[in-house]
Symmetry: C2
Subunit: 236 residues, 2 copies
């Protein structure tokens, strides 16, 4: 499951993204001299939402004006406390406020999650192959809270070219015995690693993660492999 | 919040750990030529439990013989389904089977979590300073599942020398406005990044994470900063 060394760095060359920007071309231009076969590109959700027209106007003077959108983007509400809504989004994610927020967007606007982040990731993977001839995996990341633990972490909301959950069942452990169940969500771990260098307050919306185990590459998607079926879930 | 480049690599020089090994000395010997000021050492829980005598004998022929220990290590059970118990441990963690498992331990034994993983981390930080003169942070990591998302990821169960949750409230975002609430659990993100190279099946129980933001270093502990008070929790 291991590469010798993992490296994470910000893809240089991005300015601020505005709605309507050709993100795919910007990505290709920035990646040209910085990305190689086997890299994983981690692209933060906000720039994908902006480029894909997922911005919605809200009353800039009302800090709660996006709340109706939260319910529109949700299929069920799990918990409410004060202004906080924890819901299952139509994409299958359980998160706060349906992934909608106001940071790093223009006043009077909010960014909804991309309609299909797996598809957005596939397009990026395809364009990297078509225009640069490099085989990369792509992860779209967003920042989610967790129950029971304070602080947010970045997770994968879309992916292409990588098996988001690496199934280590059947591999021998260090004592040579067959491991029972170890399905590691490498896509979320990669998103987390990328956040360590991307941060929230700089114009570095894309990270390159180099040195991932080649066995992780292959078909799969966040929707299919990470989103847990409600019937298998003990907390819904 | 960003360093220019994050590097993650396994600390070389560890063989299999057996109960009673002097883990601190082993760590110092391995770290001597590989670790520098500002590194974060991520030490997987299992070797800490082994070195600290947290191994318990169980019936090797009964796959459920550790279940009574799960209840002993727990202060409340949140969910049960079949053999799976999700509980709050006496350390404050919510996880499956109170963090007890049988992988990478001798037949007929299970490993309990360290009694106080923050203290274990502090000892390691202290010994690195005292014997090698290097200032590092230390994270003890373990592998937890999550509700709503498939696959496990590594998280921090103990730490020293790092603020586990970096508080970015009050920092300007990329558009120059003050961010509302962004408390990033960098300790969990660092543990996740380390797992990408440590894996489960190799004798690489310690990783070095280099390039973390210097502002994250400082006082704090997992117990104090990450474990969420049940009264603030919507899922307990």
């Amino acid at each position: 499951m291991s590469g010798e060394r993992l490296e994470v760095f910000a893809l240089e060359g991005f300015g601020e993204i505005v709605p309507g920007d050709d993100l795919l071309t910007m990505l290709v231009d920035a990646a040209r001299d910085q990305v190689q076969d086997g890299d994983v590109l981690v692209v933060t959700q906000k720039i994908v939402s902006k480029a894909e027209g997922q911005m919605v106007d809200v009353d800039p003077d009302d800090p709660l004006s996006h709340k109706p959108l939260v319910l529109e983007e949700s299929v069920r509400v799990l918990r409410r406390r004060g202004e906080l809504i924890i819901s299952e989004t139509k994409h299958g994610f359980v998160c706060a406020n349906a992934g909608i927020d106001r940071s790093n967007v223009a006043d009077g606007q909010v960014a909804l999650l991309p309609v299909d982040s797996d598809r957005s990731a596939r397009r990026m993977q395809d364009v990297m192959r078509a225009r640069l001839g490099v085989e990369v995996a792509v992860i779209i990341s967003d920042t989610f809270g967790r129950p029971w633990r304070r602080g947010v972490t970045d997770v994968a909301i879309g992916s292409a070219g990588i098996q988001p959950v690496a199934d280590l069942r059947g591999h021998p452990d260090a004592l040579g015995r067959i491991m029972q169940v170890t399905e590691v969500c490498v896509a979320d771990e990669i998103a987390a690693a990328a956040d360590l260098i991307l941060g929230k307050s700089k114009n570095t919306p894309v990270a390159v993660v180099r040195g991932c185990d080649p066995s992780w590459f292959g078909p799969g998607s966040v929707r299919q492999d990470i989103v847990r079926d409600p019937k298998d879930d003990l907390f819904r």
